[in-house]
């Protein structure tokens, strides 16, 4: 679902890269901004002073803190707790209309984690999820940057091209996916009709495990390119024209200009965009759920669709197992984000890091 939320987050991500003038202006007041929780005689005084200085900031963030605490924090803690139990559909609390059956699941310690991590299933899905994420992001990025470069010139009908190219973004993903299902239909879909018309043999787009993987990636790329395109177009336009002019005077080839000016110029935006698309793609539910339902033979199920199935489609419903998958997915994502950030830092790109 995050796909649609694309650019804003870029703005957000980009925003954080902007030198936050605000904090600097205020920094003097704060002094050492350590949390005032250290035990000791000074703690209370510090808290009081903190309140006096920061009460307005705290009031301003209070609604969000409260809301996140209640609707994210609480379920998260509960979800964590479930992963240490054997909760499934037959032992959780059920409010069957006038009858209520109390929860009777039991604490099982780390058993769920042991089961998930020692079985091959999770690892199989993880491998495919990584392949899926990397392919989608790389292909989308290359196509997005290419098209952005093409659009970023004097071309007749440019605004028409632009509108056409971002159309996939304008349509809710769950609608487009159904359109693709029709096109992919093995027996009567238009893709196979076109192939056969061209003298080629029809493909098992969604029924052969390999081609199904290709197909879901293609659809996700189709959905993701507009966002990349817009983000990259923005980045390209922020590169000063003088740089190209100067380079050309020095006799730089087109390739050199691209390598030495364009790429560095879009680097900071790319860093953010790639990180965000990676996370979104990793969590991309609707494309796979609606296009193949994870099939054939579960070959296109990524971690999140499998976790969903465990809790809501497989019978009996394994809530504890699904929650365990969810927690592991989250840990993986956080690790990824940390590593990514460190890698950027090491390359000396302070702007790209938060």
């Amino acid at each position: 679902m995050a796909d649609a939320s694309g650019p804003p987050a870029v703005a957000a991500g980009g925003g954080t890269t902007a030198p936050a003038a605000g904090p600097a202006a205020d920094r003097k007041e704060t002094g050492p901004a350590g949390p005032g929780g250290r035990p000791g005689p000074g703690a209370l005084t510090r808290l009081r002073r903190g309140l006096a200085t920061h009460w307005y900031a705290w009031v301003m963030v209070a609604p969000v803190v409260a809301v996140i605490g209640v609707i994210v924090g609480w379920p998260l803690v509960r979800g964590l707790y479930l992963t240490f139990t054997d909760a499934d559909e037959s032992n959780v609390e059920r409010r069957i209309g006038v009858n209520t059956i109390d929860a009777s699941y039991e604490f099982v310690g780390l058993q769920n984690y042991v089961d998930v991590l020692t079985g091959g299933h999770f690892w199989d899905k993880l491998v495919w999820t990584v392949v899926w994420t990397v392919s989608c992001v790389v292909i989308t990025f290359v196509i997005g940057l290419t098209l952005a470069n093409m659009l970023n010139r004097k071309v007749r009908g440019r605004s028409l091209y632009r509108i056409a190219l971002i159309l996939p973004w304008a349509i809710p993903a769950f609608v487009s996916v159904f359109a693709w299902r029709m096109l992919y239909n093995e027996r009567s879909g238009i893709l196979n009709a076109a192939l056969e018309g061209g003298g080629l043999s029809a493909m098992s787009w969604l029924t052969d495990p390999f081609w199904a993987k290709v197909s879901v990636i293609a659809v996700n790329v189709w959905l993701g390119v507009p966002f990349m395109l817009i983000a990259m177009l923005g980045a390209l336009q922020s590169i000063p024209a003088e740089q190209y002019e100067a380079a050309e005077m020095d006799g730089a080839t087109a390739w050199q200009r691209f390598w030495n000016i364009t790429l560095p110029g879009v680097r900071s935006v790319s860093a953010t965009v790639v990180l965000l698309s990676s996370i979104w793609t990793f969590n991309m539910f609707p494309v796979i759920f609606l296009l193949t339902g994870g099939g054939p033979v579960g070959s296109t199920d990524i971690l999140v669709t499998e976790a969903f199935k465990l809790a809501f489609q497989r019978s009996p419903r394994d809530f504890a197992g699904s929650a365990t998958w969810g927690v592991l997915i989250l840990i993986l994502l956080i690790l990824f984000a940390l590593v990514y950030r460190r890698a950027l830092r090491q390359q000396g790109d302070k702007e790209g890091a938060w």
């Binding site: 559909e89 037959s90 609390e93 409010r95 009858n99 419903r317």
Partner: protein
């Protein structure tokens, strides 16, 4: 600015209130004026739904204190949807429950026991087989609606043109491949639904599990032979299949005359007639395997949600009694050719004269009863998924049955 933010907040608050009110109305239950609205979730297909809706809504006619809210939900997600709704008090009063779901729902306490309630009228009139599917743990949790089984649907004209008799066995179909030169294949083999694999399994004398001895039997010799038979049909060019969108592909292949035969149930009669012409549609028993001729017993029951208050419960029970009455069953058979579950209905003239009933009634009588265990429906996913691997050429019949059996043993904790 201040004002507009205030307005925004007011609108948001209003909308929330509206939301809260709206949702109250959706709750199943009695209104303040003593009127009970019976919510009925129907899973029938588009053609059937028109009739079932009309029939269901007529229940409220002549009753001041009852209304019927007919809701058609897709068969595909129906089990999941009911399972989502039931533990949260959001389930309908009455649910059209597939025969294999009854014990699953009942084991989770989602269905109300119906023994000795008004919902069960004239119990002895029900076909024994149909009644068996309503039992869980010695208690009645549902009332039979329709009973069905699979049969061979064939295109009379195509068979005539090819000069082929209606096949009685899978071997007959394989032998006839050459006669159907102009077709893609003589036979469409449904590859994406576990239910459609059962005739092959029964045809070799096998079964998924043996509930009495609590053993998994799908990987015995008969099981392997059944999957081998499926493989042979495809390899010999006698059959085509798909691992997704099988229903659509099957119906369109049959309707377009790309294949001459398919296996299907009474629910497809009207659609098949529309597609190739009523006079052109023939129905015969499923082709036999090497051991027997066997087709699974299927059908639908009415289940009553366990979480109903007194007034709702008695209205729901009356509704079920009405829907499963002989009159209503007869009417449904007349309009849809579905098979009644009451023996008395078969004696009605209009029913007895129905060509499809004439055929299906004896077929149902010999249909293979499935193990009515809570996991009955959970047996289908592993079967479908592993069979898919075989159809895609990634597993042999032995590997397939072994993989299915492994998953069954894990699921059931049986031998």
């Amino acid at each position: 600015m201040r004002r507009s933010i205030g307005t925004t907040a007011a609108i948001a608050a209003l909308a929330l209130t509206a939301t809260a009110c709206g949702s109250d109305g959706d709750d199943a239950g009695s209104g303040g004026d003593g009127t009970v609205t019976v919510t009925y979730w129907d899973t029938s297909n588009e053609t059937e739904a028109k009739v079932f809706r009309a029939v269901a809504e007529e229940f409220a006619e002549g009753r001041d204190d009852v209304e019927v809210d007919y809701v058609n939900i897709g068969w595909d997600g129906a089990q999941d949807r009911f399972k989502n709704a039931a533990p949260t008090g959001e389930a309908p009063h009455v649910m059209r429950t597939e025969v294999a779901w009854v014990s699953d729902f009942a084991s989770l306490d989602y269905l109300a026991p119906l023994d000795g309630t008004p919902a069960v009228e004239n119990q002895d009139d029900y076909l024994e087989q149909a009644w068996a599917s309503t039992q869980y743990d010695g208690t009645t949790y549902a009332v039979p609606q329709v009973i069905d089984t699979l049969a061979l649907f064939y295109n009379k004209q195509l068979l005539d043109e090819a000069g082929v008799d209606v096949p009685e066995s899978l071997t007959d179909i394989q032998d006839s491949v050459d006669a159907f030169e102009e077709l893609e294949a003589p036979f469409y083999l449904r590859g994406d639904d576990a239910y459609w694999f059962l005739p092959y399994l029964y045809g070799e004398g096998g079964d998924l599990v043996d509930a009495d001895s609590e053993t998994v039997t799908v990987d015995d010799a008969a099981g392997v032979a059944a999957f081998q038979a499926v493989q042979d049909l495809l390899d010999s060019g006698a059959a085509i299949t798909d691992t997704t969108d099988g229903w659509e592909s099957m119906m369109s292949s049959f309707g377009n005359g790309d294949v001459a035969m398919m296996i299907n149930g009474p629910w497809a009669i009207n659609d098949a007639r529309d597609a190739i012409g009523a006079e052109n549609l023939g129905v015969a028993p499923v082709p036999a395997g090497s051991a027997a001729q066997g087709s699974p017993q299927g059908g639908w029951n009415y289940g009553v949600y366990a979480g109903l208050g007194e007034a709702d419960m008695s209205a729901a029970q009356e509704f079920v009694a009405y829907m499963s009455s002989a009159e209503v069953q007869q009417r449904i058979t007349e309009e849809l050719s579905l098979l009644p579950t009451r023996s008395s209905v078969y004696e009605a003239e209009s029913v007895a004269a129905n060509e499809m009933v004439e055929f299906f009634a004896p077929a149902v009588e010999v249909a293979h009863e499935r193990a009515w265990i809570p996991q009955a429906n959970s047996l289908f996913d592993p079967l479908k998924e592993e069979a898919e691997a075989m159809l895609l050429g990634r597993a042999t019949p032995e590997e397939t049955t072994a993989a299915i059996a492994d998953r069954y043993r894990e699921l059931l904790d049986w031998q």
